[in-house]
């Protein structure tokens, strides 16, 4: 009962935050809506018994990645976005598209619901289980992913550190 109530409330918050993310004109409001989405998602994970994923969702996404988003928005001092022709077309086509997609997904879920129920907390979500899975059963994919991230970081450093070609540099006045 309490689970269902919390699930509904935070599900509604997540959807409302996602809609607000698209509706808001100012980037910082959109970023904050995304943080609300992340936070309510983490509560949903917690309700499903995935406590470690819930905590990591907040620490990594809401606490670190979104801070960088907000940081960049602050640094560029981005102002309100103007509607362009492209975004008007996107609104005209996108909203019906999203509605159709949502109805399709809901229809599929309703068709297949009741095929198998899982009790809340029955799936392994404890830190020990996740650690065992990551460092034992899925060790190779885990390490490969970490190398992938490392390569991405090195790529970013190379791109950022590339010297500007001399022809593009502002000419110094003599």
């Amino acid at each position: 009962m309490l689970h269902l109530a919390l699930f509904t409330i935070f599900g509604a918050v997540a959807v409302a935050g996602a809609v607000n993310l698209l509706v808001q004109r100012h980037p910082i409001n959109s970023a904050l809506s995304l943080i609300a989405v992340m936070a309510s998602l983490s509560v949903e994970y917690l309700l499903l018994g995935a406590e470690f994923v819930a905590a990591v969702q907040v620490i990594v996404y809401a606490g670190a990645i979104m801070v960088l988003f907000v940081f960049v928005i602050m640094l560029l001092n981005a102002g309100e976005e103007e509607l362009t022709r492209g975004s008007r077309v996107a609104i005209l086509v996108g909203i019906p598209g999203v509605l159709i997609g949502a109805v399709l997904i809901a229809w599929t879920l309703v068709q297949h619901s009741g095929t198998g129920e899982v009790a809340i907390g029955a799936l392994p979500g404890r830190p020990e289980t996740i650690g065992w899975l990551l460092f034992h059963d899925f060790l190779l994919p885990f390490e490969v992913t970490s190398i992938l991230v490392l390569i991405a970081i090195m790529g970013a450093v190379v791109l950022a550190g590339r010297p500007v070609p001399t022809s593009q540099q502002p000419r110094k006045e003599a």
């Binding site: 910082i28 904050l32 406590e51 960088l68 907000v70 602050m74 404890r126």
Partner: protein, 346 residues
């Protein structure tokens, strides 16, 4: 097992007590800081209001409430108002998972001395404190002033950088205790070596981790020598330049509440929590653990203030280089060595 009504009532009582205790502690940490820094600088600190200036926090609070709450015309209002609330909410929430002593039984109700005992308590505290950076960042941005913006930028970059070494310094302790539960971590530190050295993590192979934690904690709470976000000589007052009255006081409260949380965490993870010599009649034995806990937190806060009275401020590039080139590799090395030793022992 408690019935749900009892549980709710007990939780509400504990929450109210925790918040009152925290706010009182915040007020008197400010008093302590003014007193100690005053004596370090050969001054008296507050002396006029009450004996030893003990009523000064009350007078300060009254002043903050009665002052005019000025909102500059150029701010982005919704976030300007929300920012201090965000800062103070997350600062106060994080105290709810800190255990200050063993379980107690009062009138047949058996309850832990904290608001709630969660088996991933440490992770949740880290999550809550990592959200606290938004208060500072948004305050800097929404004030629409260059000093505030620079302060906010510095604060968010600094807090994100130091959070990494802070988190990594805790992993060694987690490996040794094998749990995220703060209660289990403290229980693992009971007993002594050779009868007189306590088995606290700081004497048990985690000296380096404690050092990394100490440095990162100073930076996370924006305290001297890492108080670049509010460097008076460069940025007027940093992210809270445009704030006045109670909104300013909320940032102040958040900063000191964060200091207390960090001190509590240091006590729980490295200094053995409420472990200490127990003696005397049963009533005294019940109170002593809480006393030891508070004493350790007090010592940690005193260290904070002592450092503030002693050290000058870093330069910003030194601050970042220190985080990424020194603390981070040190924390990783500590983690690797701790992991290796624990793996070899088991």
């Amino acid at each position: 097992m408690l019935s749900i009504t009892t549980f709710v009532i007990v939780s509400i009582i504990k929450s109210v007590i925790a918040i009152l205790l925290l706010l009182t502690a915040v007020a008197y940490t400010v008093w302590l800081e003014r007193k100690v820094v005053g004596h370090i600088q050969n001054r008296w600190g507050p002396t006029r209001v009450g004996p030893f200036g003990l009523l000064q926090p009350l007078a300060d609070g009254l002043k903050f409430i009665l002052k005019e709450d000025l909102t500059p015309p150029h701010v982005y209002k919704p976030l300007y108002i929300a920012a201090p609330m965000i800062a103070v909410i997350f600062a106060i929430t994080s105290i709810s998972l800190i255990p200050i002593g063993n379980w107690v039984s009062i009138a047949g109700i058996h309850t832990p001395l904290e608001i709630t005992d969660v088996n991933i308590g440490l992770l949740i505290i880290l999550g809550i404190t990592s959200m606290g950076v938004y208060g500072v960042a948004l305050a800097g941005w929404s004030s629409n002033s260059k000093y505030s913006l620079l302060g906010g930028l510095r604060a968010s970059a600094q807090m994100v950088s130091y959070e990494i070494s802070l988190g990594l310094s805790l992993v060694g302790v987690l490996i040794m205790a094998g749990s995220f539960s703060l209660r289990t971590i403290v229980d693992a530190q009971g007993g002594t070596f050779w009868g007189f050295i306590p088995r606290w993590n700081v004497f048990h192979g985690q000296e380096v981790a404690f050092f990394v934690y100490l440095m990162s904690a100073f930076a996370e709470t924006n305290r001297v020598p890492f108080d670049l976000p509010e460097a008076e000589t460069e940025l007027v007052a940093g992210y809270h330049t445009e704030y006045s009255a109670m909104k300013f006081a909320m940032f102040f409260m958040a900063e000191y509440a964060n200091m207390i949380t960090v001190a509590c965490l240091a006590t729980l993870l490295f200094l053995g929590g409420w472990h200490g010599p127990l003696f005397g009649p049963p009533l005294l034995q019940g109170i002593l653990p809480v006393f030891w806990f508070v004493l350790k937190v007090f010592c940690f806060l005193f260290l904070y203030i002592w450092v503030r009275g002693t050290l000058p401020r870093f330069r910003y590039d030194q601050l970042m280089a220190f985080a990424w080139k020194f603390l981070f590799p040190l924390a990783v090395a500590n983690l690797a060595i701790t992991g290796l030793i624990v793996a070899l022992r088991s």
